[in-house]
Amino acid sequence: MRPLTFYPKLALGNLWRNKSTYLPYLLACIVSIFTFYTLLAINMNGVLDGMRGESVVKSFTAIGTILLAIFCSILIFYTNSFLMKRRKKELGLYSILGMEKKNIAVLMFFETFFISLIALVLGLGLGLLLSKLLFWALLRMVRFTVMLEMPLSFLAIGITVLFFCAVFLLALFSNLRQVHLANPIDLMAGARQGEREPKASWLLTLVGIVCLGAGYFVALYFRSPLEVLMLFLLAVLLVIIGTYCLFTSGSIALLKLLRRNKRFYYQPDHFISVSGMIYRMKQNAAGLATICILSCMVLVTVSSTVSLNVGAEDSLEVQYPYAYDLRFEAPEDADVLLFGAQTIAAENGVSLTHLQDYHRRAFWAKMQGNSLVAAEEEGNLIGGGLVALLTLEEYNKNEGTTVSLAPGQALLFMTGSRYEGNTVTVNGIPYDVEVLETLGREEAGGRDIGKSVTLILPDSAAVDAVLHSGGLQIDPQRVLAFDLEGTPEAKAGFDEAYHSYVNGLHTQETFQFRVREDGREDWYATNGGFLFLGIYFGVLFMLAAAMIIYYKQMSEGYDDVSRFEILQKVGMGEEEVKHTINRQILVVFFLPLLVAVLHITVAFFPISRAMVIFGVLNTPLLVGATLLTIAAYTILYLLVFRQTAKTYYRIVRRQPS
């Protein structure tokens, strides 16, 4: 009978002896736990409650936590499988030396127990410490004015511990299964296992092509922002499945095709790298696909985050052409509020500029070519838009112009897309139109979610005629909009005073009061959350990708030591070895990056369409942000690649005797 402390002691000893193997694994676990806890705590600790933008930030963190849970599990399983590969020989030796499988299982249990304990303690400790910091950073970025302490979230700690214990347990079970199924000789040959040449499965290749194609199709085909939003997840899922299938099987099929081409294959460079890659593909296709998907996640999150934030100001201009915009159901209220605004402006030393004051009658219309027909409003934005009618008199007053229109003539201003043609038929009444490039501070063109047409008709009789012929009964809405001019302090003073003035009115319910500054505040509540999470995820995914790359290189390096030794004995020089290694690593590592860039190129279209919903319509800006992100990521990738290639070379280099 062995003393109770035998296995724990042996397990601890093993961990210590294998510390160079376990350290990166531990690191992966700690990073996973720490990020998972941080996000969960931010979501759960209750301090976000009741704040502006709370729901947006909360749903981000919730989705983020789920995504994170999936990726942490993949990461831990992946690193664990490398770990097992490296340790199989040792476990096989135990087995040959007479340790029963039952005892090995106990030993492995204790090893898992200790490593998990260390990971949880360090991960949570770090999480508690750094989450305070991160939380503070998040608050800073979303420009909340209140400073808050981040309290301990015991619930978050509990969930984190439970979740990771489950993951560690599952990993342990999969390890135990492997050990249980294998005989000692197989275990000893652990690293040599899987050296059977992989068969390319045409079915898998087919599934991969179909999924990827379908994913791309879904991503590219649907154009309306709402459809894109609904279907983007489906596209992402299809592309992920396709990527995994193709990396697993398609790449092998391709390489075999290359090998069948004798002229190509039997060249010094291709010979070793192609065979090496075929040999590797099976072991590592999953790893490469994961690197590829992670790279995609980094690129998508970071580029859309950057786009959103750079686009925030830009889109504010689109959404709020004027600093203040009031719309009245009872037109006479406008006089009161205009007077109020002018008085308060005078008191605060600012002046009202770009003042717009007009009556507007708007209705929903079907748009077909140059014909606008009043219709029931539909949920989607296809084929329809808003038509607003204005009189020439008010137009001239607002613009300070003296345009005159003959009967049957009108001015037309359109946003959402360009207006083609010089006639329009509205509710059956034809007009010759002159298309305006600007209306007040708004610019014509495509930078808006939905289409909207403003028609300036000769007089109110013409307006009534159009409404009547469309069977419409619409009370005019009076619009009051203006900008401010003055020092920032004076503007802030006006803003505060005017808000409290407006809020104090008893007629409040009968008008809309939209302020660009309020919009901006909302925007930063939303965008700050995006930025925070985007960067947070970007960093996290990048860490994960780097970790997997590092792991791959280490494990392959140890596999390859004997291979390169033989190659050198047979007559391969140092330089050629270096060259071959670089070539092999280059292809293996840049394949995921290349595919990721392809994915992001396709993803750019739905993303840019979905961005419309967030008010970002500036396509050149999106292109710039995406290109910049790709460039930055490639540089980081290159650094990781160089570092791992160096380490790899150090491992496989022939020891000088």
Binding site: R192, E195, R196, E197, K262, R263, Y265, Y266, Q267, P268, F271, S275, G276, I278, Y279, R563, E565, I566, L567, Q568, K569, V570, G571, M572, G573, E574, E575, E576, S657
Partner: protein, 257 residues
């Protein structure tokens, strides 16, 4: 003309820590003629592998030189060494050293591919060789799918396919049973009869008895050699056995002194 000349070769290993010095070879000189089959015998630790590594330019001698076809190995530049090895030398190792990533055929092509030969000229070279070595049927298999004896024949094919000036074999039968050993040695003798120069290191008298000349090394020096001189394998085997007992006796004597 001598194909290979080994002149006063000396090798001293310096261990990494403490600076302990091990003299593996003290002063080895011999030469090999074109078309010879030479076996080198010696006890474990006598410096056989060390000698072969120096001949193969896998390692540098402390003193002395190796001359192949009148060209000193030390005059070959470091960067060209690998190519030199590939072009002029063929290797057979005790543990085969086949690559698991290649099938048998590609393993054999390896040195040709590394030299940048065209595929069209590889195949005609392989065919007769494969037939002679009886590996035609296993060309498409992978190393883990064939037996030890087959592996060593594949390794021999890889060493021979470049038509090297000299084949260096280190304990080629070390991992084989007697039947497979016999087959391999017969094959080596046969290619030698066809003109291939072979230098084989072994501590098996049975293996050495296939050679045309046997060199004995001890304490880092060549202390004896036997020429076949037209006798049968069996007789040569006897001679070697005799030489070995004498050698053992003298070394015991020396130890007694």
């Amino acid at each position: 003309m001598e194909l290979l000349e080994v002149k006063h070769l000396k090798k001293v290993y310096t261990t990494r820590f403490g600076g302990n010095k091990v003299q593996a070879l003290s002063d080895v000189s011999f030469s090999v003629r074109e078309g010879e089959f030479v076996a080198i015998m010696g006890e474990s630790g006598s410096g056989k592998t060390t000698l072969l590594n120096l001949l193969a330019s896998l390692d540098k001698p402390t003193a002395g030189q190796v001359v192949l076809r009148g060209k000193s190995l030390s005059s070959v530049k470091e960067r060209q060494l690998a190519a030199f090895r590939r072009e002029h030398l063929g290797f057979i190792f005790q543990d085969f050293n086949l690559l698991d990533t290649f099938n048998v055929e590609d393993n054999i092509y390896l040195p040709l591919v590394l030299s940048g030969r065209r595929y069209d000229e590889m195949q005609p070279r392989l065919e007769p060789l494969a037939q002679k070595l009886a590996i035609t049927d296993i060309l498409k298999k992978f190393p883990y799918e064939i037996s030890g004896g087959q592996k060593q024949r594949v390794a021999a094919a890889r060493a021979l396919i470049t038509g090297p000036d000299i084949v260096l074999a280190d304990e080629p039968t070390g991992a084989l049973d007697s039947k497979a050993s016999g087959a391999l040695l017969r094959l080596l003798a046969e290619v030698n009869r066809e003109g291939q120069t072979i230098l084989m290191v072994t501590h098996s008298a049975k293996a050495a008895s296939k050679a045309g000349r046997v060199l004995f090394i001890r304490d880092g020096e060549v202390f004896h050699q036997i020429y076949r001189g037209g006798v049968s394998d069996e007789e040569l085997y006897q001679k070697i056995g005799h030489a070995l007992t004498v050698s053992a006796a003298t070394s015991e004597e020396r130890q007694a002194v």
